[in-house]
Structures are given as structure tokens and as C-alpha cells.
Amino acid sequence: LLTAKSKEPEKVTDAKVNRAPPSPHSPSLGLRNHHAIQEAAGPSHVAINAISANMDSFARGRTAILKKQPSHMEAAHFGDLGHSSVNYQPQEDRSRLSKTVEHVLRDNVAIPHYMHFMEHQGADHLVRFWLEAESFRSTSWSRVRAHSLNSVKHSSLAEPVPASPGGSELPELAQHTTNALTRDSSSERLAAHPEQRDSFSTEAGLRPGTPQAGTPSRQAPSQTGTPYKALSNSTLRDLSDKLMKILEKEAVTIFTKYISPDAVRPIPITEQIRTDIVAKICGEDGMVDPNCFVIAQSVVFTILEQQHFSDFLRSHHFCKYQIEVLTSGSVFLADILFCESALFYFSEFMEKEEAMNVLQFWLAADNFQNQLAAKKGQYDGQEAQNDAMILYDKYFSLQATNPLGFGDSVRMEIESNICREGGPLPDCFTTPLRQAWTTMEKVYMPGFLSSNLYYKYLSDLINSVRADEFVNVSSPGQGGPADNERSSSNASEAPVGLAAIKILKNFDEAITVDVASLDPESLYQRPYAGMTFGKVNEMGQFIREAEPEPDVKKSKGSMFSQAMKKWVQGNSDEAQEEMAWQIAKMIVNDVVHQSNHDSPGKATKVQNLAQYSLCCVLMCGEWLQFFSKCFLLSVCSYDPTEEPKDWHWPSQ
């Protein structure tokens, strides 16, 4: 028993998340029978039974002929209606793409996106509190019910029914059993969201005299009370104490975290509410009220709804959630028709398919039935009949302006529904609504999901996410340029523009490097070619292209040795001496010319040229010294570097 009870909360949670459509007992059994028949029978039987089921539920009181004829015509016209007809409950369908706060807080797929958004808003503690308080409330009630069931068992075991006092004991035991069964029904009904109020009422009923708890979105004052009678058995009392201590511990944890004035991030509630919560947690009788946080939850819920939810619906977090739903591989017609942004694209698609009349009729009739149902029977029958006649004249009449091709049987059914005494009922158009729904679902929905318009719908969602994330990621310093970039082009092009700017910037830098890289080449360009220091012309004379080193001259010899050489050689070498002087002069002019030619160049070039020249001079010195020795060995009588001075000596 304990194992079974421990699984119950999980089951309830899963059921809540799935939000299965409500299924009262008898219709549920009927549906199960129909499903069994469908498995055994062929398609035609499936269709007939499905139609019959719908007829039974939607067209009660119709004659046998009406029942039969619609079956035949619908089967012929729409083929196998399959499960869609059986499961069609338009008033319960909601789009997963269109959310209210309550829907988001109970949707495990949407909660992460909503939490991310609220973290950006700095208000995620409100959502966390609501979720934890809701979990506490549900868990507490489950435990209380489990404990009550245990109480019944212990009572039975501990006190067997004697024969003589049976009269007083038996009614009490029967009452406990009845309560247990009621609680089981209550547990089952937790599976359906629309039944939340009923289950809350049942839970509140556990404490006589306590007002309805209601949903967190409503103000529901509750009072401390004893949830069940205290039995005299000591074992039961111990269990009760343990349960209360567990609940109290959890309640105190939530209180300390979110409600206490010393909390890190307390939720914004008044002192009165805080005091009320303390009184409910630490009651005089030691009982903890599972609804102790309901008032605070309603305050937080209102804040979430009024201050943050509109922004969430316009944020990229909600777009991410929608993309997740639309790319899940299981998109339904309800997701499209009940979401206005998706409907925008779908209506465009239906117009291209020239089937706008079907969508128009479904929307108009659905709106008519919804506003009529919202009045819960308190409406002007004549006014409703006038509204219905407008739709009839437009879509059903033999002179209809927008005929949809409904059969005579459907038209007669509509006429009967409209002319009902007291005015039409909110399910007046359910039969043609179901047919229009099936047509859109079977004929047009597959095409839409693979159409360009659907692709654009997804692209717009993706672009919204990308644009928002781009804005969020950019640093404050880059905010200005980013905004300018987005203003000049579409959001999807903003990254391109920014990247282009970076590329251009890099390109400019590259150009600079390229310009710099050109300089070394110019350094190697010279008027003369190669690395030679001189050459020998056709007459056998050596022409220098570099300036000789002065130190080498001085080491040639003293004045005396030079005079001796002069007298030995005689005057026959005067011509050679003059030529040598001219050669030397040419060399000097050449060097001077180079220097003048290079000076107009860039400063960088001159600097590099100077360094290069220094290297050349050093190398020339070494070569010149080596060459001079060779020259002296081969031609002892010829020394052009010394002849000019000898030439001037005789004049002295």
C-alpha cells in the first residue's frame, strides 16, 4: 500500500502535464467500447460508429432517419473520419503556441523558457516561489489523503465491530469508507485541468466550514481547522504528529526562503499576509494548513500576469518555445487555429488554396458558439437566433453568398437547431464545425506544414530569436554601431554587416603591412649590378667601384721608398700615371653620384641604405687589402694609388 501511495503524486503530476481532455465515467466507458469495436471492425464500421458516437453526444433527440443519412453522406464525402471525429472536442482544444500564465506554469516544456526570461527580468524568485508553493500544496493534500486512508484501516483493525454496540460503530465506519471513495474520485479528477476547481472544492470539503480554496489566481481566504477527527488510538496520533512535522518542516523551508523578512529575495507581500501564513504554519493545535501559501500565490500570480507576461510573449524566449513546438514533428490543427500569429500564415495559405470559406465559416461559427457558451445560458434567445441566421444565410441557405457545399441533411439540422424554442444552443453548429475541422485537418493541414508559408513562419521566429540574442550579446560600447547597423538593414543581416566591417578593417591593416613589405625590395635596387668591387676593361685596366681604405695606403711605404721607385722607373710611365689619376677621379665621382641619387628617397630607405653602405665599406676594406697584395706581386712597377703624389713632388 505504501508503494502504491508513493507513486500517486508522480501519476498526478504526469497527468497534469499531459492535460488530457476530461472524461466523465460513463462517456469514458462508452469511448472505450467504441475503441474496442474499431479494432475489430473494418473502416466503414469504424466511420459509422464514430459518427454515431458523435451523433449521440452532439445531436441528441434526432430522428433515426437523420442519424442514418448524415452517416452515409459524411462517409461518402469525407472518407474515413477515424479518430479525429471521436476525439473532436473543440471547446477544450487550445493551441500550445498561445499561452496564459496558468498554461505556462503547468507546461514542463514552457517553464524553462519562462524561467530564463524571468531571470533576465530579475524576477525568477517569484516563479520559483509559485512552483514550490504549488508543489507543497499538492503534495500535502496527497499526504493528508493517504493518511486518512490509513486511519480508516487502522480503525478497522484496532476496533473490530462488536455485536452489541454495532448500532453506533457501523455508521461511522461506513462514513469513513464513503469519504475514502470520494477522495479516490477526487484524486482521479486531478488528472484534468478543467476539473481543478472541483478537486479544490473536494479538498476544501475535508475541513467542514472552510471556504473554497480555488485556484491561485483567485483570492481565497482560508482558515485554520482540523482536517480530520483525532482518534483515540496512540499509533494514529503518532502518525499524525509525524506527518504534521514533515509538512511544517517543508513549509518553514519555503517561508524562510521566500517570505521571511530576512530572506535573500523575499516576495513582495504585506505584513498581514505574512502573519497569516505564520499562523497557518504554526497553528495552535499543531496542524499545518496545506493551503497556507494560497494567498501569497495569488499575489505573486497577479504580479507575474500583469507586469511580466506581456513582455514574455514578445520575447525571444517565447519564440524559442514556439520553435520547439513547431519543430517537434507533431503539430496539430489546434496549435494553428488557436494561435493568432500562426493563424495569420495559415489564412494566407488557405487563401492560396481557395479554401478561405471553410476557415471563415469555422472561425465565425466557433466565435459564435464560444460567446454564447460563455454566457452560461443567460442570453437573449432572439439575439442569438439573429446571429445564427446571419451565418445560415451566408453558408447554408439555398441562396447562400458563400456556400460550403453542406448536404441537405446538415442544412435541415441547422435549421432545426436555430428555430429551437428559446433560441439556439451553444452547440448549434457543432456538426458543420466538425466537418469543417476535419476538412482542414485532413485536406489542408499536411500541405500547410510543408509549404513555403510555414517555412517563413519558422524563419520569422528564428530571426526574432537571433535578433534579440544579438542585441543581448553585444557589449555596451558596441551598442551604438550595432543599432545603426540594424537600422540600416534587416535583423538577419546585422551579423553580416558587422563581420563585413571587421573584414574591411583587417584588410586596411593588411594593406599597411603590404606597403611596409615593399620597402625591403627597394633597398636592394642599385644603379650598378652585382656585388663586384671593380672590373677590368678591354685595355686591361682595373676600374674600382668602391672607395679604397685610407689606412691601407699609409702602410705602402715611406716617402723614401716611393722616391726610389720613381727614379728607377723613369719618365716613360707618365702616360700611365695620368690615366691612373683619371681612373681614381672616376671612382670618386661614381661614389658621390650614388650618394646624391639616394638622398631624395624615403627616410626609411636612407636609414637602411646607410646601414647597408656600412656593411659594404667593411667588406670592401677586406677585399681591397687582399687585392692590393696580389697586385703588388704581379705588377711591381704599377701603383696607381701613389702616383698622384709623386706627380706633385717634382714641382716642389
Binding site: L363, S459, D460, L461, N463, A491, V496
Partner: protein
């Protein structure tokens, strides 16, 4: 198919001529039957605004109070709205504030709203002066026109003016047509295909820069 689609609303009290305005704009003639709108109805027309081809998808809503809660669900995602009152009915003019609040709250904050004083041809029965409505429009940042669905006066101008303002907002970057909820969608698929290769090039360039 190379249109820009713009999502429009026509809102206002019952009997002010919303459906007749739409019919006159689309069919270029006065709508003879006087049935009121149940819920929402569609209409569309392709127009040329400043050299650009724009398809206006117009959602005509029921003005009866009993349909208000269901028609509100179609507000979100509209780029423009015609807010219609009847110049011969002071009551419909007094209700404008409520309609305006709904539009600004439920639709995009950037929605472009044009105030239309309809039934201009019934001058003898006028209950709201041009000047009074013009000042209301100025105070609430609306464009204002007086129209006649019967004669067609200013009907096309109203829609075109709204469309032109929307396109200007797109050009100035104030309105992002590719964001969800802008009420605008581009129909030119080739433009989208042209944009994707550029994105690829960007990626390659980034990689080259890293090298």
C-alpha cells in the same frame, strides 16, 4: 509571388461601417446587405505603395460587445489598425478610448492606428465635429481621416496611408518585418535564398581572418 504581406485590423463599435469600409476598399462598391459581423472575417487586396507591391490582409472584427472577448484574440500580430467610429453617433466616438486601449495593449506597441470617422456623407446628422476628433487623434498620436463607405471618399487613402507609414517604419528600422509579431511577412523566397549564401561567405571570411 513577390509581395510583402501586412496584417491589418478593423476595429470599432457596432454599426460604424467597418465591414462596409472593407468591402468598399476591396470590391470598390458599397456593401448592400446590412448583416453584422460574427467574430472575424477576412479580406485582402494587393496595392502599390511607393513603388512597392504590398498585400494587405485585413481582419474585420465584430463590433458587438458580446463578441469583444473572442475578437480580442486576433489583435496580437497586427501591424496596422483602422479604428472606426460613426460621425452621426456620439456614443461610438465616446467608446474610442476603450478600443484604443485594447489595441495598444493587445497588439504590438508599434501598431499604426488610423482613426476613421465614417459616414461623412451624412453631414446633416453629424454629432461629432471634425475638429474635435482631430484633436483626439493628435492627443493619442493617431492619423485621422473622415471617410464615407457609401461614396468611397478617403477609403482607399486610409488603408494606403497606414500601409505607407508601416513601410516607412520598416525602412527606418523602427519596425522589423522579420520579427515575429510585426504583422508583416516577405513573400519573396528568392530574396531569402540570396541572403543565406552571404551568411556562408561571412563564416568563411571569419575563418580566413583567424588564419
Amino acid at each position: 509571388d513577390s509581395h510583402t504581406y501586412t496584417h491589418f485590423l478593423v476595429i470599432g463599435s457596432a454599426g460604424t461601417g467597418k465591414s462596409c469600409l472593407l468591402h468598399q476598399f476591396i470590391e470598390n462598391k458599397f456593401k448592400q446587405d446590412s448583416n453584422h459581423t460574427i467574430g472575424v472575417e477576412f479580406g485582402s487586396r494587393v496595392v502599390n505603395v511607393g513603388g512597392k507591391t504590398v498585400k494587405l490582409q485585413i481582419w474585420d472584427t465584430a463590433g458587438q460587445e458580446r463578441f469583444r472577448s473572442v475578437t480580442r484574440s486576433y489583435y496580437r500580430g497586427a501591424a496596422g489598425a483602422l479604428l472606426v467610429y460613426d460621425i452621426t453617433s456620439r456614443e461610438t466616438y465616446n467608446a474610442l478610448t476603450n478600443w484604443l486601449t485594447d489595441a495598444r495593449t493587445l497588439a504590438s506597441p508599434n501598431i499604426v492606428i488610423i482613426l476613421c470617422g465614417n459616414k461623412k456623407d451624412l453631414e446633416a446628422d453629424r454629432e461629432v465635429t471634425f475638429l474635435e476628433a482631430s484633436r483626439f487623434a493628435q492627443e493619442n498620436e493617431l492619423i485621422f481621416l473622415e471617410t464615407s463607405a457609401l461614396t468611397g471618399e478617403n477609403v482607399e487613402e486610409g488603408f494606403l496611408k497606414c500601409a505607407r507609414i508601416i513601410l516607412n517604419k520598416i525602412d527606418s528600422g523602427e519596425l522589423d518585418p522579420e520579427r515575429m509579431g510585426s504583422g508583416i511577412q516577405y513573400g519573396d523566397a528568392s530574396l531569402r535564398q540570396l541572403r543565406q549564401p552571404r551568411g556562408t561567405t561571412t563564416t568563411q571570411n571569419k575563418q580566413q581572418c583567424n588564419c
